[in-house]
């Protein structure tokens, strides 16, 4: 289970990164980032996985004693929430950039934005 999740997350990350590095269209690069982020989020959740654990919410299943034997790790789940929100913010800002760049040059090709160099 965790092996599959881990491999999935790594593959997602690498596909996303490939998209960022090889796509010329800025929007596609941003999609690459989204994939990258998704892979990261899967990774984080996977890291918190405990074999046979349930959701870290105290209810009838877990009871309130010896909870630690029954649940998966809540910390990565808390972290992933933060990571998702950050990813959302970054994506939104990148899209705003893309919009502005398109307005300036009527182009979304990253190679058209090379005024500054050397």
């Amino acid at each position: 289970m965790e092996t599959i999740a881990l491999i999935t997350s790594f593959v997602l990350i690498l596909i996303g990164l490939y998209g960022i590095l090889s796509q010329k269209n800025i929007l596609k690069m941003i999609v690459g980032f989204s994939l990258f982020d998704t892979g990261l989020h899967v990774l984080i959740v996977t890291v918190g996985y405990i074999r046979g654990g349930t959701a870290p919410i105290l209810d009838q299943v877990t009871g309130t004693s010896n909870v630690s034997d029954k649940i998966v790790d809540p910390i990565p789940q808390a972290l992933v929430l933060t990571a998702i929100v950050i990813g959302l913010g970054v994506t939104a800002l990148m899209l705003a950039y893309a919009l502005k760049m398109y307005q300036e040059k009527q182009s979304l090709d990253i190679r058209d934005f090379k005024e500054l160099k050397w």
């Binding site: 990164l17 105290l58 909870v67 789940q77 939104a92």
Partner: protein
């Protein structure tokens, strides 16, 4: 071509890094001592059945404040970045939405809003919380936009909700220093009955504030994107 080959090469290199992490990684059957502490004492210390919430809002409350700040920042940046001077430009005639969307939006928006509120108010009890609830609220706004592209949100109200809930969040945090054990301590209010709506100290309050804030911020971001595109039409 060479470039693509090179990219694949370095992706492969990075895969190498991951592989070395993969070999070290073995699924575990027991929690880390830190997680064990949260699991076994979370209920007593924080009073929220949803352990993720107690970590997000209390134990790691400072992160959450940073998270909220990020959304706030993005909203602020986008609003001054995409700000367009409206000089009575000619606007293209609005796209007419289909009857289905128009009707559905009227029907669904209140429901979605209520669902969003439900999700963040109950964040300490059930899966969900301020961010999730806020996101749901923002979808209601998306629906409105889809139904009526000319729809304009009252920016003043949105900004007010955003700022007031943010300040209140900080204020609750500071009260933690004054009344309890530290910044963002939830014990400024009694922990109450475990598992009840009004329990877990300040968590429901904080999560409601976060929900409002996230909802208004996401809506704000969307509406800014929408404003720009109106001129494009």
């Amino acid at each position: 071509m060479i470039r693509n080959f090179f990219i694949i090469l370095i992706i492969a290199g990075l895969a190498g890094v991951f592989v070395s992490l993969f070999w070290e990684f073995g699924a575990s059957d027991t929690l880390t001592p830190l997680a064990t502490h949260y699991a076994n004492n979370g209920a007593a210390e924080v009073g929220a059945p949803n352990l993720v919430t107690s970590i997000v809002v209390t134990y790691r409350g400072l992160d959450t404040l940073g998270e909220v700040t990020i959304l706030f920042l993005v909203a602020a940046i986008i609003s001054f970045f995409l700000k367009v001077e409206k000089k009575g430009q000619k606007m293209a005639p609005p796209r007419v939405s289909s009857e289905i969307i128009l009707t559905a939006s009227k029907l669904l928006v209140p429901v979605v809003l209520v669902l969003g509120i439900y999700v963040f108010v109950n964040g300490h009890l059930t899966p969900g919380g301020g961010f999730q609830g806020g996101a749901i609220i923002a979808t209601a706004f998306v629906l409105l936009l889809m139904a009526n592209p000319r729809f304009e949100l009252n920016h003043r109200i949105i900004a007010a909700v955003e700022s007031v809930s943010g300040m209140a969040f900080v204020l609750v945090g500071v009260l933690g220093i004054l009344l309890a054990g530290g910044f963002l301590d939830n014990k400024i209010l009694p922990l109450g009955h475990f598992g009840k709506l009004f329990s877990a100290g300040a968590i429901p309050i904080i999560y409601s504030l976060v929900g409002l804030k996230v909802g208004s911020e996401l809506s704000n971001i969307l509406s800014n994107f929408q404003d720009v595109q109106k001129d494009e039409l």
